[in-house]
Every structure is written in C-alpha cells, then in structure tokens.
C-alpha cells in the first residue's frame, strides 16, 4: 500500500502552480519589474543541485568532469542569487511613500 513519492511530488507541483497563479496575480503592477528580478534570484535554488554535483566524489580526485560542471553551475547560480536579490533590494528601497 505504499504510494510512490513521485505522486506526492506531482501533488506538490500542481498545488504550487495554483499558489503561483494567485500569488503572481496579486502582485501590484508597479512592482512587476522587481518581480522579474526576484523570480530570477529564486529560480537559482538550482544551486542545490550544483552543490551536490560539485561535492560528489566517487574517487579521490576533486576535479572530475562532473564536479567541474558542478562548480561552474555554482558560479553561475551565485551570480544570479546575489545579483538578483541585491538588485531587487536596491529597487524596493527606492519605493517610498510621500512624507507627510
């Protein structure tokens, strides 16, 4: 009677699409540019895979081909993570209310 974890992941995926749909539609239009940059940043959680790839060692050598691709992916993802969050922060910092 065990259920395949894939089905659970599918459920999570589908429910997340619903959440994404609603969450994005509720973003105010004046923040659509920060939305683009922050989705950019969060989609770089792919760094998780990159770290696994970089640290996977079947042998003693650290820099096998698979690892090198992992390290390169870490580099790219890191640019995105830092760049994405920081540029978003910079933009959001600029949105100010009228001083009264």
């Amino acid at each position: 009677m065990e259920i395949d974890p894939f089905i659970f992941r599918l459920s999570i995926f589908i429910l997340s699409i619903f959440v994404g749909y609603y969450v994005v539609w509720s973003v105010t239009p004046s923040l659509h540019t920060p939305l683009m940059s922050v989705t950019n940043a969060i989609s770089s959680v792919i760094v998780v895979g990159a770290i696994i790839a970089a640290l996977a060692s079947s042998s003693e050598k650290i820099f096998e081909t698979a690892n090198i691709f992992g390290f390169l992916a870490i580099l790219l993802a890191a640019i995105n993570i830092f760049g994405g969050f920081l540029v978003t922060q910079r933009m959001l910092q600029m949105y100010k209310k009228k001083k009264k």
Binding site: F6, I12, F13, S16, Y21, V23, V24, W25, V27, P29, S30, H32, T33, P34, L35, M36, S37, T39, N40, I42, S43, S44, V45, V47, V48, G49, A50, I51, I52, A54, L55, A56, S57, S58, I62, T65, A66, N67, F69, G70, F71, L75, A77, A78, N80, I81, F82, G83, G84, F85, L86, V87, Q89, M91, L92, Q93, M94, K96, K97, K98
Partner: protein, 465 residues
C-alpha cells in the same frame, strides 16, 4: 542530516519563496518579502551542505566559487543603471539556463551522486526529466543571450527572418523528441550531447526572428521556461524547494507575458512568430507629415503649467531613453511649490517592460502614492488642465478607441486628449513602438515640444523659477 529533516527544511525554503512573491503585493511589504526570499535561499544552501556532509577540500572550493559568483553578482547589482533592467534580467536568465544545463550534465555523468542509478543504467524517469531539464535550460540560455544582445544594441534589433524558418524550427523540434527517445532507449551519451547542442540552436533560432522591442515578452516567456526547467530538475533531484520554486517562476513568467500581450492588444503567437514592431516603425512615417502641427518651446510649456491648477504627467519609453526621471521630479517639485496639483499616470505597458516606469520614478524619489494606474486616474483627465506627456506615444493614441482597423484597437489607453491642453515631449513626429501615427499631435489643444525629454524638462524647470 536525515532525509526527513532536510525535506522539511526544503519545504520551509519553498514556503519562504512563496512569501517572497506574496510580499510584492504592496510596496510596504515588499522589502520584508525580499528578506524572506534571502532566508529561503540560505536555508536551502545550508541544508544541502549538511545533507551532503562532505566538509573536506571540496567544501572550501564550493565556498570560493559561491563567493566569486556572489561578488560578481553584487558588483553588477550595484552598478547597473535602472534603465538597463530589461537587459539585466535577460542576462541573468541566460545564467540560470546554463546552470540548469550544467547540473543536468553532472547528473548524467555521475548519476550515483544523485541517487539516479549508475552510468549507462540511469532510471528512465530521471533520464527523461534530466533531458527535458537540459533541453529547456539550453533553449533558455541561448534565447536569453540573443535577447540580451538585441536589447544592448550589440545585435540589430530588427527581426531576422528567412524562408522556411517555421519548417526548420518544426523539424528541429521533432528531432529533439527523437533524440530523447533514442537516449532513453540506448543510454548512449552522444545523444545527450547532441540534444544539448541542438537545443542551444533552437533557442537561437526561436529568438532571432523576433523584433528587439518585443524582447520583454520573450524575456518573460524565457523566465517561465526557466521555471519549468527548474521544476523538472527538482523532480530529478527529488527536491521540493526546487519543485515549488519552479512552479512559482513558471507561473510568474507566463502571467507577465500574458499581461504584456493583453496590454499591447496582441496575441502571444503574434509576438512569438515574430516580425512585428521593429519593421513597421519605419513604414508608416511617409504620408502624414503635411498636416499642421502646433509646436512650442520650454517657455510656452512653463507658462501653461505654472498657471494650471492640476497637471498629470504621462511618462513613456522616451523618458527611460532620455533618463529624464530626475529632471522630471525636480520640475514637478517646482510646480508643486507654485501650488499646482500634480500626479503621475502609468499605463500598464508604458515603457518596455512591466513596471518599467514605476521603477524609474521610484528611483527619482517620486513617492509611489502619487503614481496612479490607468483605471485609477483615467477619469481625472477631464478635470485636468495640462497633461504632460513625456516620451510616451502609443499609450495615449486615441485610435485604439476609434478605429477597429488599427492594430492597437481595443487596447486601453490614457485619455490625455480630454484635458484642457496636452504637451507632447518627443524628438520628432515619428511613431512609437506600435509604428502607428498618433492623431493627437495634430489636435487643437496639443502643443508639441520637440526635444530630448531630459533637456526639455530641464529647460522648463529653468523657466519656472
């Protein structure tokens, strides 16, 4: 770290990403939202370290690479001018795409590390997910690079079309499916490399026929793709943070493309199949120029606005090109000191990217509660003395309301013509993005101010004192 514990933390990190996007529903909560996003990322990375549990040399290298990448990213983030956001987003997308490809390659080369089987005997489901992730990632990469080059002006913005293009794309599309099928059947690695190579080409071929001005739609679409690619790899890595994020990003990109197409009154396919925009910009110029036009100078404009009781500012793409936002804010401050009521009216697709104008105005310290969206402000033009249209064109074009033949018919527009007088700041009579002549230029109550948006605004400011 046990699998259960790390699964819970990945879930938390996914939820923090949801809260990050949720924060963007208002400027007040948006900064907190961004911190949620950062927290989610820190959790995901930390948990991954603890799960892998390999704290040797490799760990230090990972840190070094994270730091190098992070420094580059931070440097870019602080140096980039706000007007270059579209390029920046395109550039960052290309990196996500490439990272996805690299992760897929590693997983293919060392499946044991990811619990996917062994080389030459990778689990079928994982192999399919991996190939899809790699292919979509590669398309995202090369597509974003082209988009970036077109936006930067390093490559002609003109759509590049040739005969048999659609046929070529179709056959390549089919060959990708065949390759994935062969790969799953034989597990021969050359199919995998070929798949990635062809996908790079597809991204390239898909984007070159699209005009430079249509790039924002393309970027959102690629954003959506990169989300689905991330989700695909999330399934491979059995990681819920990635699955949740992928779905969020996928929806976000799709919705933004939809909003843009809707705002431009074009269908998504019309954009993707290419060739609009950039070409037409030159065609419709010729016949019109004979109609009489009232043109004025900074002095006239200053006089009109000083004596107005209310002014609405309508910024557009030209303001971004001229970087006129700071000058504009100063002009508005001067007007306010003169007792004039001033507000800003933003059309949903003003500029070249959703929210483009809002970011620029925010950069110039315009408080966001003086900035109104189309529906909020459109009725106010009737009671307003001067509409100051700075570098905007299509978003004011009344042909959208009157002429069913016009390509922008049905698109909502700002009713600037209802105000007592309209000032148009632009350099010439040439049309905007949609390539359609704007009837307003020739109206009785319009005064054209032919100049660069920034220079003109600065001169008006001088004349106001």
């Amino acid at each position: 770290m046990s699998a259960n514990l790390s699964a819970i933390f990945y879930l938390i990190s996914g939820i923090l990403f949801i809260l990050a996007l949720r924060g963007l529903s208002s400027p007040e909560t948006s900064r907190r939202g961004n911190y949620f996003g950062i927290a989610g990322m820190i959790i995901a990375i930390t948990v991954t370290f603890l799960t892998v549990g390999n704290f040797g040399m490799g760990f230090i290298y990972v840190f070094v690479f994270l730091l190098i990448g992070g420094s580059i990213g931070a440097f870019i983030a602080f140096r980039i001018p706000m007007t270059a956001m579209p390029e920046l987003v395109a550039g960052f997308h290309s990196l996500v795409g490439l990272a996805a490809v690299f992760v897929a390659i590693s997983a293919f080369l060392r499946p044991e590390a990811f619990n996917l089987g062994t080389i030459g005997d990778i689990k079928l489901a994982s192999l399919i997910e991996m190939s899809i992730g790699a292919a979509v990632g590669a398309i995202t990469f090369s597509g974003s690079v082209i988009a970036f080059l077109k936006l930067q002006g390093l490559m002609s913005g003109a759509p590049i079309t040739f005969k048999g293009q659609h046929f070529l794309n179709l056959s390549i599309g089919i060959s990708i499916i065949v390759l994935i099928f062969l790969l799953c059947k034989t597990q021969v690695s050359n199919y995998f490399w070929l798949l990635i190579f062809i996908s790079f080409i597809v991204g390239f071929l898909l984007i070159i026929p699209i005009g430079g001005a249509d790039m924002p739609v393309v970027i959102s679409m690629l954003n959506s793709y990169s989300g689905w690619a991330a989700a695909g790899i999330g399934f491979t890595l059995e990681n819920s943070a990635l699955i949740i994020t992928g779905a969020l990003v996928g929806s976000s990109g799709a919705i933004l493309s939809y909003i843009m197409c809707k705002g431009m009154n074009r269908s998504f396919f019309n954009v993707i199949l290419g060739g609009w925009g950039a070409t037409d910009q030159t065609t419709s110029k010729s016949s019109k120029e004979q109609k009489p036009v009232k043109s004025g100078n900074a002095d006239d404009a200053a006089f009109l606005m000083k004596n107005a009781s209310s002014v609405i500012i309508v910024p557009g793409y030209g303001m971004a090109v001229a970087q006129a936002q700071h000058a504009l804010r100063e002009m508005v401050d001067a007007l306010k000191k003169n007792g004039v009521k001033v507000s800003y009216a933003i059309h949903p697709v003003a500029g070249r990217m959703p929210g483009h104008m809002n970011v620029l105005l925010a950069e110039a310290n315009v408080p966001y509660d003086e900035v109104f969206e189309l529906e909020e402000v459109n009725n106010d033009f009737a009671n307003c003395d001067v509409a100051y249209v700075i570098g905007a064109n299509d978003v004011t074009n009344p042909v959208a309301k009157s002429d069913p033949q016009s390509p922008i018919y049905g698109m909502p527009v700002l009713d600037v013509e209802k105000s007592k007088s309209v000032l148009f700041v632009k350099r010439s009579l040439s049309p905007g993005y949609a390539g359609i002549d704007n009837d307003l230029f020739y109206r009785e109550n319009t005064l054209m101010l032919f100049a660069d948006a920034k220079k003109m605004t600065e001169e008006i400011l001088k004349n106001l004192d």
